[in-house]
Amino acid sequence: MSASLCVVPDSISAGAPRPPSIHEVGARIKSHEWVNGEYRLLVLDAPASILNCEPGQFFHLLCPQTDRFQPYLRRPMSIYSFDAARGTLSFLYKVAGAGTGALAELQPGATLNIVGPLGKGFEIRPEWQRPLLLARGVGLATLAPLARECARLDRPLTAVCSARSPELLMSTDLFRSYGAEVITVTDAEGNSGVESLTTLIERLIRSRGIDAFFTCGSARLMRMLQEMGARHGIVGQVALEQQMACGIGMCQACVRPFRRETGAVNLRVCREGPVFDLQEVL
């Protein structure tokens, strides 16, 4: 990373006392189930104050201390679904290391301390009438609220869902329930490689008139869409991940380099993101 990169964003939110919009709350666990061998679905009873969310935003979870795991920092998780009317908030997460390992031990009824909503979510611009969503792994969680938003805004959505194997394909029924056209590809079936997908998506661009890309969950697929987008003049957005400490914008732990007119800038994934312009990602 070169020392000439700018390192904080150019705009700072206007000064002075405002009512808090980020909340630290204890939320009761309503249910907590395995959805496949790797992922768990965590549903929380959440107060209305934190349910004014945008698709693509995330929460920062204080995973518990257990006998086996003693995570210290919080763990960021995309919102899988939020429902202000029912007062629920849910996360779909992969059990990976200490934090998610400890999280997985929590039982319904227990309280989980969460901070959010955080970050900048997806923006479905008026001119984006025929979006395509390409999700893999955790992206299948992160992009779920976007599919709902597309339904709300009446934008016919094509969802290409990728996974290692058919069992690991998540959210496809949810996507369908939002009226999306769902196409699945898996490593097991041999149709999830960049080449097959390029062919598939080229075809969809032509046949469906795709005019925007949304993606999450794979650096490889993001690069592929950047390349195809550049070729076809299709713009879009990507939800990124980066290791975080504060999640709020204070610590500069989560920066990544982005292309801006003025040159490369480092932006905070937790604050200027996690959703970024697809073509700006360096």
Partner: protein, 311 residues
């Protein structure tokens, strides 16, 4: 009701709870009203632009964290134009943390940021002194004295010298800062540390080494706070591993006139306002009229534990 105000030289803070540099920013205003705390302390800036260190910049180590953020900075001019005005709407004094490569540069920089709206300058002397073989200024009394002396003649703002735990001469460094005209000391910055992922064999920070902060640091920085509070007449501000009200009390009892909260804000962004509330409760609970009545009251118990009276 207890009187929570505390004086740091000529500044009066409405309470002794403030953030540690690098763990606070304008965004926290979206979590709580920033006038609940005693002062605002900004992330260290440098005069010129800097990118900061390579990734990964943080990792966790058994109940504490390491960081090698470095000092990403958009420079002095940008800061004065964009950040300082943000804090104008708050009553709490704005303390800005600055860093530089030489004592002269520190002085010039101090002058540049001595603008309306800035209440004090925190001097981050834990950065490498390029005139002393890259050793941090805060490692030795000589370079520390130089920096503070030159800054003292360049600005009339209060100067808070932020000391480093990475030295065997903390008392001498504290006294040098005081003699050179520092108005207060902050004890302390992070401790140089490291972690390796034993599975992959890789260092866990892009910069190889980084600063240890959080609870694991507290016994070390508390010791420094105690040593410095006894060795100088200027106020000492405790910093290191504070997350609970007992930690705040420990520092005040050891002689700190105020405390800074760092990493705990990452773990719970509402830590500072909670500590303000709990401090008031603790004072009332002990029948103390004020924070002042607690500061420096540490007692030394040399006695053997006698056979317990189980009665």
């Amino acid at each position: 009701m207890a009187d929570l105000t505390t004086k740091i030289g000529t500044l009066t803070l409405k309470n002794p709870i403030m953030p540690a540099s690098g763990t606070f920013s304008e965004e926290l205003a979206e979590v709580f009203h920033l006038d609940t705390i005693g002062a605002h302390v900004t992330k260290t800036i440098t005069r010129g632009k800097r990118a900061g260190n390579p990734m990964p910049r943080v990792c966790e180590v058994g109940g504490a964290m390491l960081n090698s953020i470095g000092i990403p900075s958009k420079g002095a001019e940008w800061f004065v134009k964009n950040v300082v005005p943000f804090y104008a709407d708050y009553d709490a004094p704005l303390v800005i943390s600055i860093s530089a490569n030489t004592a002269d540069e520190f002085a010039r920089f101090a002058e540049e940021v001595s603008v309306p709206g800035v209440a004090a300058i925190e001097v981050n002397i834990s950065c490498p002194n390029i005139e002393d073989d890259g050793k941090a200024f805060a490692m030795r009394p000589g370079p520390t004295g130089d920096v503070i002396r030159k800054m003292r003649s360049a600005t009339s703002l209060p100067l808070w010298a932020k000391l480093s735990p990475n030295t065997g001469e903390v008392v001498e460094v504290a006294q040098a800062a005081e003699a050179a005209g520092a108005d207060a000391l902050v004890t302390a910055n992070t401790m140089l540390a490291m972690a390796i992922d034993s599975r992959t064999g890789c260092v866990r920070l892009g910069n190889i080494m980084g600063g240890l902060s959080g609870p694991a640091l507290r016994p070390i920085t508390l010791r420094m706070t105690y040593q410095c509070a006894r060795a100088v007449a200027i106020p000492v501000i405790g910093c290191g591993g504070i997350s609970a009200i007992d930690d705040v009390l420990e520092y005040l009892i050891a002689g700190a006139r105020a405390v800074q909260v760092g990493t705990a804000t990452f773990i719970s962004p509402t830590t500072m306002p909670r500590l303000v509330r709990e401090l008031e409760q603790a004072l009332v609970g002990r029948g103390l009229p004020s924070v002042d009545a607690l500061i420096g009251t540490v007692e030394v118990a040399y006695e053997a534990i006698t056979l317990a009276e189980y009665a």
